[in-house]
Symmetry: C2
Subunit: 188 residues, 2 copies
Amino acid sequence: MGKTSTVRDQVLNHAAALIMQRGYNGFSYRDLSNLVGVKTSSIHYYFPAKDDLVLEAVNEYSNRVLGNVHAVDATLSADKKLREYAKFFTETLGDSGRICLCGMLAADIGSLPDNIRLAVQTFFKANENWLTQVLAQGAEEGTLVENGQLESVARTIFSAFQGSVMASRLFHTNARLDEVVAAWIVVP
Amino acid sequence: MGKTSTVRDQVLNHAAALIMQRGYNGFSYRDLSNLVGVKTSSIHYYFPAKDDLVLEAVNEYSNRVLGNVHAVDATLSADKKLREYAKFFTETLGDSGRICLCGMLAADIGSLPDNIRLAVQTFFKANENWLTQVLAQGAEEGTLVENGQLESVARTIFSAFQGSVMASRLFHTNARLDEVVAAWIVVP
DNA sequence: GTCTATAAACGGATAGAC
DNA sequence: GTCTATCCGTTTATAGAC
């Protein structure tokens, strides 16, 4: 009954959480060692270099989050979809001081190798593509503000969410994420 | 004729640049030592602890940038002001891989003491207040999109700029900052 | 003010026993 | 797979000579 999770998975989960809280340069194998209860050398057995660990954390995170995003009920109106989307950021933030793993790594990009940059870029593009579709639907329905090229606006909205989740943590509030949604919903 | 700058100022300037590129946990006293050409112990003479150095870097940056922002020609139309504002981010980014120092520290906030958090919050609020005024002007003129509470939209725009400058660096482009401006300019 | 010297902890990583 | 032991460079910081 009790959930059994491999050491490898525990390392990966704790690594993701630490990155979301403190960034790439803000956590160590020692932190993970203390959290999981195995020696650092055991972690090196699964992930020879720190970059190997981080790349896999990004891929897992990306798959999970994009899975959730694409599972948003397709029959919803565009403004409702945007609200659901905002919830993902809110839930991640919670009270734990965690922001989007890929948003954090975008800030840390100066310390990262190219394969991780690529993975983060892919996550960004997937989100922006999904938002583009939502904007197109919103324009058709008249539920979302229509102003400019869909792709451009989608990138701006995604940037607004990423910036907003950082500001929310900075100010210990999560009202700022709702404001992002409100900025694109047509006022009656 | 040659510009003379004190060791203290050089340390402060290099520290700001390094934070903008690699974040709080991504640079060291040794980096500064190599750049300025003095030993790390000499840097500790001016800034006993790393947090002292970072706090002062934030204050200097904040004063300089807010000075520039408030020096934007008051007679410009609101959309022109927004374009000028975007230039600050573009110029900072340049080709140097630097993003807004306070945006970076917002990402690193989990590693920072409370006095630095306060200073970063103050910078955010000052920008958001300025943007609120611009939005009010734009609503009056009909040059900027009017949708929702001014303060809320101002916070969203600032978040969009912060997120956008990170995405711009991630993708090695700076077109994304123009898209943020375009998203709030009334299409003819 | 700047240096040398040093401390004491931390960082990622590896070799080899079990 | 996990451990002990270890390597070696890094990091922040201090004491004291010049």
